[in-house]
Amino acid sequence: MAQPGEARVRQCFRGRAARIVLAAMLVAAGAALVLYGVAVHSRTVLLKQAKPPAAAVAEKTLQESEPALIREVTVGGLRRSLSGELERTYGEGETPSLCPT
């Protein structure tokens, strides 16, 4: 039969081990998501044309990484179009006019 001291040590190990494992899993998962966001995740963004494009000219797009997308949203520089695509709210040479607040 286990002594009370032994049971306490076992419970201590379980509690500590569970917390260490959970915290480590959270940190590892978070770090993996950050790495994925920084290194891999990107979206296509439609650039606003200063002048309406000629019919033959394709719309200009840009592949923006997630950090770039974050920077854009902090200045209100992105919106979702009716067709579901991401588009810039400002044209080339312009500054974003929208403020999220």
Partner: protein, 282 residues
């Protein structure tokens, strides 16, 4: 009749806890971007509006809401919150958040404070789900209930400073919406009569970090041997919790005021003690 055990209350908080306002001020200096780095492509972990003329990082709540409006998964914001939450949990709210610091400073004004039941803090999850995720996802960032449009932190840290700057430059100073002005005035009044009204009732970021309180590597622990159930910690807790029962609760901002009682200690997952927290989810 057996003599009742005396509660072990320190006459004043530890030097570390007494220095909390200074630590918050030091963090504020960092968030105010004194080197003008404007690292707005990095997601921060505190409630500090990125529209503020002085903001180092992007606000995680703003990023979550805007990405929800764009129908894009914010991997970096979620990852950042997981890393910070997994290590320190709600300590961010009590020690690093500039908006919490502002509320702590105003709370120093000696006005009788209202104490609401702790269950009112669960309203923060309605704000998180509703104004940060659902409204942006279905109605876009232009909806009047989009979190940034009703956020008092945005009004205090960005709206008013930008208004002053525009007015000083002779601009139109069209400024904030009537709704946001109303929220700002109500919030300013509430700060005097309620400890951390935003954090305890509405803050979506506090709601997220509150969940991590139960799993984070740094946590609070009550020693059953030392606790005499005197209830002194309840009177110390500014968030109106019962620390001896609700330690590492969702609503705890880890201000550590309750550690004046010798039965409550800060521990890490690696601390050697007679017994660690009974279970990760209390």
């Amino acid at each position: 009749m057996a003599a009742m055990a005396e509660p072990r209350i320190r006459p004043k908080p530890s030097r570390f806890v007494r220095g909390r306002l200074w630590i918050q001020a030091a963090f504020l200096l960092v968030w105010l971007d004194p080197l003008a780095l404007r690292l707005h492509n990095i997601c921060g972990s505190v409630y500090h509006c990125y529209a503020c003329p002085l903001a180092l990082f992007a606000c995680p709540v703003g990023v979550l809401a805007n990405f929800s409006a764009l129908h894009v998964v914010p991997f970096i914001a979620i990852g950042t919150l997981l890393v910070v939450g997994g290590v320190v949990g709600g300590f961010v709210c009590g020690w690093a958040c500039p908006f919490g610091f502002l509320q702590d400073l105003v709370a120093k004004v000696p006005v009788p404070k209202v104490r609401l039941p702790s269950w009112t803090g669960y309203f923060r999850y309605a704000v998180l789900g509703g104004l940060v995720i659902v409204v942006p996802y279905f109605f876009g960032e232009a909806h009047p209930l989009f979190i940034c449009r009703v956020c008092p932190a945005g009004a205090v840290e960005a709206g008013v400073p930008n208004l002053v700057r525009e007015a000083a430059a002779g601009g139109s100073a069209a400024g904030m919406s009537a709704l946001k002005w109303t929220i700002l005035v109500l919030f300013a009044l509430a700060m005097f009569v309620k400890f951390r009204p935003w954090c305890s009732l509405f803050c979506p970021l506090g709601a997220i970090f509150g969940v991590f309180n139960r799993f984070s590597a740094v946590f609070l622990r009550v020693s059953p041997k030392k606790c005499v159930q005197c209830g002194a910690c309840r009177k110390m807790c500014p968030m109106n919790l019962a620390p001896e029962k609700q330690l590492n609760d969702l609503l705890c901002i880890r201000c550590m005021e309750c550690t004046r009682c010798e039965a409550i200690e800060v521990k890490t997952a690696f601390s050697r003690s007679e017994r660690a927290d009974p279970a990760p989810a209390e």
